[in-house]
């Protein structure tokens, strides 16, 4: 699959572009300003979808890691590593947008709340995941070890959440599922959700095809090296 060459990529690019544009119009023009929090609340429409996509990305890492250990196909490792990179980026965005939102509302950039602490731990675990990958030279071994970290890391997060939940939380709960959102706000959130999710899918497809090209290039280099050595010998 060539970068931006396939129908899937163009489809995702189109969908992302349209959804991002529509969501921006919704957020800045259509949706009314929230009564208690004011203008800053508009960050919600990207904060929540980005958080959802970060979690989705790590879930994809988990599934691809299990499939890699089971089937030993390089493609699963490529998907896992691409999704982990994206997950780290999206988690960083969640932490940043959350801090920007927290400062005017709670008066602090950061608080050791259940939701916040779990997100930070999640971020640390997958940064470690990327470090493990980077610190192993052998490609097959790096893939195997990364898969192990990808599985343990995902298993850990619900336990962290459970442990921290016990000492109380300041972060609002699942307002979306409790029906506490006005219809126009819900519609805006859903469009943003679509925009960010399709952005993730687009970036994943691009990163996977880039990684495949890198791997192919490595193979070609190795083959040239072999031929050269045969010529010399």
């Amino acid at each position: 699959m060539r970068i931006l060459g396939s129908k899937v990529s163009y489809g995702l690019l189109g969908l992302t572009a349209v959804a991002v544009l529509v969501s921006l119009v919704m957020i800045f023009i259509v949706v009314p300003t929230e009564a208690t929090m004011g203008i800053i609340q508009r960050i919600f429409y990207y904060h929540v979808p980005v958080a959802w996509v970060a979690f989705l990305a790590f879930f994809v890492v988990l599934i691809a890691s299990i499939l890699y250990l089971w089937k030993r196909k390089r493609k699963w490792d490529v998907i896992a590593s691409a999704s982990a990179e994206l997950g780290v980026i999206f988690t960083s965005l969640v932490l940043i947008t959350g801090s920007i939102w927290a400062k005017p509302i709670w008066g602090v950039w950061w608080t050791w709340d259940a939701r916040l602490t779990t997100s930070l731990v999640l971020w640390l675990i997958y940064v470690a995941y990327l470090m493990v990958r980077a610190s192993i030279g052998e490609e097959e071994k790096a893939a195997r070890f990364a898969a192990v970290v990808g599985i343990i890391g995902f298993v850990d997060v619900p336990i962290v959440a459970l442990a921290i939940q016990l000492w109380g939380t300041q972060h609002p709960g699942a307002v979306i599922f409790e029906g506490g959102l006005a219809p126009v706000m819900l519609a805006t959130l859903l469009i943003s959700l679509l925009a960010v999710t399709s952005l993730y899918a687009l970036l994943l497809v691009q990163r996977v095809s880039l990684r495949n090209d890198e791997l192919r290039l490595d193979d070609i280099k190795r083959r040239i090296e072999m031929i050269r050595e045969e010529g010399n010998g």
């Binding site: 470690a128 610190s135 442990a163 921290i164």
Partner: protein
């Protein structure tokens, strides 16, 4: 004794003999965790109220750092001397190796804690010698050892091994540290078993999950 228990015992026994002869892990870890405690006491000042507030935290940070140090010594010497290949070539399953190593780590850490806790109680005059705190400590140590053994075996195969282990290990054991500190805090301030039961439950859940999952995936780490 059944065959797999015998093999687990063989790994554990080998580690105990090595430790008895070299005294490498327990002595260095003990000295290190005492130093951590002393540094913290300087950092926070020796004010009574402060000590009571931070005592469980200091204790668990000392255990966490001690855990990293002990875990680094679990697989690095094996790797350096080519012993790991020997163990893998012997008729011992990967599962037995995992449990043997996990038990020896637990044993060494408990040995260190048996000394650290009374010293801590003596230095700071806090009542940490308490059945609740002892149970929390043992349960926490099992969780540390289970997930640590997996990551220790993993880190030894990486380039920056001494750094990879803490970076992997500490975020993943965060729930144990949180639950253990909270349970110790509540035990120190006179709480009964009912007050710490929810925290014990968390540590117990962590222990079960982090014995089961590493047990299932350990052989992907040590395969050659």
């Amino acid at each position: 004794m059944n065959a797999s228990l015998k093999k687990i015992w063989a790994v554990l026994y080998k580690d105990i003999i090595t430790e008895v002869r070299t005294r490498e892990i327990i002595v260095s870890v003990l000295v290190f965790s005492l130093l951590v405690i002393i540094v913290f006491s300087f950092a926070f000042g020796v004010n009574r109220a402060v000590i009571e507030a931070v005592a469980p935290g200091i204790l668990w940070v000392a255990f966490a750092f001690a855990g990293v140090l002990a875990l680094n010594r679990q697989f690095i010497p094996e790797k350096e001397n080519g012993c790991l290949e020997g163990i893998l070539a012997s008729p011992i399953s990967r599962e037995a190796l995992f449990f043997g190593k996990m038990l020896s780590t637990t044993l060494f850490l408990v040995a260190v804690e048996v000394i650290i806790i009374p010293v801590f109680a003596l230095l700071f005059d806090v009542a940490v010698i308490d059945p609740k705190i002892i149970l929390v400590t043992i349960m926490g140590t099992i969780g540390f050892a289970a997930v640590g053994t997996l990551f220790s075996a993993l880190a030894v195969n990486t380039r920056a091994r001494e750094m990879v282990l803490p970076v992997l290990f500490l975020p993943v054991v965060v729930p144990v540290i949180i639950a253990a500190v909270k349970a110790s805090e509540s035990a120190l301030s006179g709480g009964d078993w009912g007050d710490i039961s929810s925290w014990l439950l968390i540590i117990g859940a962590f222990d079960i999950i982090f014995i089961t999952v590493p047990y299932l995936i350990f052989n992907y780490i040590v395969e050659e």
